[in-house]
């Protein structure tokens, strides 16, 4: 029988959007969908998960040692309840990627990473070589353990469901690791991977200070800000802005690439955006080969006029 478990991504109070995309992937698999909310003092998040459209049941594991969602302890919860499921899905976020392979190995299952399509309950499509090839793979394992590239599945509605919430026991603390601290980049802007629009700068920005000229543009478009690896490596902006094979994979409605040449590694992270705009002084730049609209010219002149035009 097909019964799918989705590992929720949450902050204790609400479920993150990545969970909604993962439930959408679970719907493509079919069968009953259960959502696991593991954490501490996360009853509100479990309640929010119960509202998600299409969810049959929420499993709520609450314990002090699940507070920081350490891989060892969360994987143990997944393994403890795994046997009743035919599929276990998690979003391919840093959390899902950290936890799920650990659970997969304990279940002696070969995980299928970052699927972008469900062909059938045992066959999936996933990108390899940074998205330069797509592999269709078929799993023979009794439980299909899968991470989901969230941008490939349209989120289900966060409300409309009325699933029952059931408590599940958490196995004892592994005692293997402990949480020390977290540095969260504070920003008023939308989060990069879930933003409707993204404005990214590349090496052509010249300096970290120059990224300031992109701020009014991002404000005008209500966009998140990103960067190419070249800009990150040059120290212009922090690493968590990085869009690309080695950074974040984004697929917003609108992606604006400013001073980005379009290396393969960057394209891998943004080429599934609906509309791509490129602003670059080099008309031969590979970014123009994927851009729907391009402007060749000096970004320091074009960006401010673009900001003015948007206000009109």
């Amino acid at each position: 029988m097909t019964q799918v478990l989705v590992l929720a991504e949450h902050d204790g109070k609400t479920v993150r959007k990545a969970t909604l995309n993962t439930v959408a992937a679970a719907q493509k698999v079919g069968g009953d969908i259960h959502v696991l909310v593991a954490g501490h003092d996360c009853a509100a998040a479990a309640k929010a998960a119960a509202q998600i459209a299409g969810v049959a049941k929420v499993l709520h594991a609450d314990a002090p040692h699940l507070k920081d969602e350490l891989a060892e302890n969360v994987a143990a919860v997944v393994v403890a309840i795994a046997k009743q499921f035919s599929h276990i899905l998690a979003p391919a976020t840093s959390h899902g990627k950290n936890v799920l392979p650990r659970a997969a190995a304990l279940l002696d299952c070969q995980q299928i990473s970052e699927i972008i399509a469900v062909e059938s309950p045992d066959t999936f499509v996933r990108p390899i070589y940074a998205g330069n090839a797509l592999a269709t793979v078929k799993s023979a394992d009794p439980i299909k353990v899968i991470t989901v590239r969230t941008t490939a599945f349209d989120a289900v509605a966060a409300s409309g469901g009325a699933a029952a919430v059931e408590s599940v026991a958490a196995p004892a603390d592994s005692g293997l690791s402990s949480f020390v601290g977290r540095e969260v980049a504070k920003s008023e802007r939308p989060e990069l991977t879930s933003a409707r629009a993204v404005v990214s700068g590349g090496r052509g920005m010249g300096s970290g200070d120059n990224f300031k000229i992109l701020e009014p543009l991002a404000d005008g478009l209500k966009a998140a800000m990103g960067a190419s690896r070249a800009a990150v490596d040059a120290g212009f902006v922090p690493n968590d802005w990085q869009v690309g094979q080695t950074g974040k994979i984004v697929a917003p409605e609108l992606y604006v690439a400013v001073g980005i040449s379009g290396a393969i590694q960057h394209l891998a992270g943004m080429k599934d955006s609906r509309v791509i705009v490129a602003i670059n002084k080099d008309e031969e730049a590979p970014i123009f080969q994927v851009a729907d609209y391009g402007i060749v010219g000096d970004l320091f002149k074009i960006v401010p006029t673009l900001v003015e035009e948007l206000k009109k």
Binding site: P101, A135, V137, K248, T305, L306
Partner: protein
């Protein structure tokens, strides 16, 4: 403290990969192969730990065909003391590699295993986590900073939205992210020295590990190509297109 580094031989990151005409995979014949860049970072970190007097011996391990010897010689040139190749022509998937590494670890007893967070060919991002699971060890993935202190390690990790720091008990598996360090270049004298360092060969059979693939690859295709769009003259024309043609603002 003995440190083990797992390295994978992959298509060089500068090569534009081509999907084979028959859809069975990507072209790897006559293509430049290199050490997975994330594994290079792992090795560099191990060498720095040795230079700092924390690590006493560095063992590099690779699993795959005989050509992985080249990758291991590079590892020896970067600073590993000895190497083990688990030789097989079977296409290895992450769970199988984790089992092979576990088996090597039971003989070698390292205190720390460092490896790349993912290989740039299959992009799985699994082997380190799986290895930690099979060993019952702690794990610290996507590391951007590693500090060894007594019987533990403090590891800063790159996570969505920022950084997270964990304290893990040793032995542990650490997987590396890009910003952990910048690997050194291999020098000619070190390449010469590497030729004399010991490289042992084992097999999955000898280690008692079944490496049969669990996932069947049905086909490999090129992704749909995005068509190039149009160039517009200025910001005004762009805003007009975005509003009236793409209807995205």
């Amino acid at each position: 403290m003995k440190v083990m580094v797992a390295v994978k031989r992959v298509v060089d990151f500068n090569v534009k990969v081509r999907v084979k005409g028959d859809g069975t995979g990507v072209e790897t014949a006559n293509v430049k192969m290199s050490m997975n860049p994330f594994d290079e970072i792992a090795l560099e970190e191990a060498v720095r730990l040795k230079e700092a007097g924390v690590a006493t011996e560095i063992l590099a391990v690779s699993c795959g065909p005989v050509a992985c010897q080249e990758t291991l010689r590079t590892a020896l040139a970067i600073g590993a003391d000895r190497a083990i190749l688990v030789q097989t022509d079977v296409e290895l998937q992450p769970l199988a590699v984790a089992k092979l590494l576990k088996s090597v670890i039971s003989k070698e007893q390292p205190k720390l295993v460092v490896m790349g967070k993912q290989a740039i060919d299959d992009d799985s991002n699994q082997t380190g986590q799986m290895l930690a699971a099979l060993l019952g060890w702690s794990q610290a993935t996507f590391a951007s900073k590693v500090k060894i202190a007594g019987e533990g390690a403090e590891v800063t990790r790159e996570v969505d939205g920022g950084l997270e720091t964990l304290s893990v008990k040793l032995p542990a598996v650490v997987t590396t992210d890009l910003r952990l360090n910048e690997p050194r270049y291999v020098t000619l004298p070190n390449i010469m020295k590497a030729k004399k360092k010991p490289l042992e060969t084992l097999t999955p059979d000898a280690l008692g590990v079944d490496v049969t693939p669990r996932l069947a690859i049905l086909k490999v295709v090129e992704p749909p190509k995005r068509k190039a769009g149009v160039k517009v003259a200025d910001a005004k024309a762009l805003v007009d297109k975005l509003r009236n043609e793409a209807k995205v603002i």
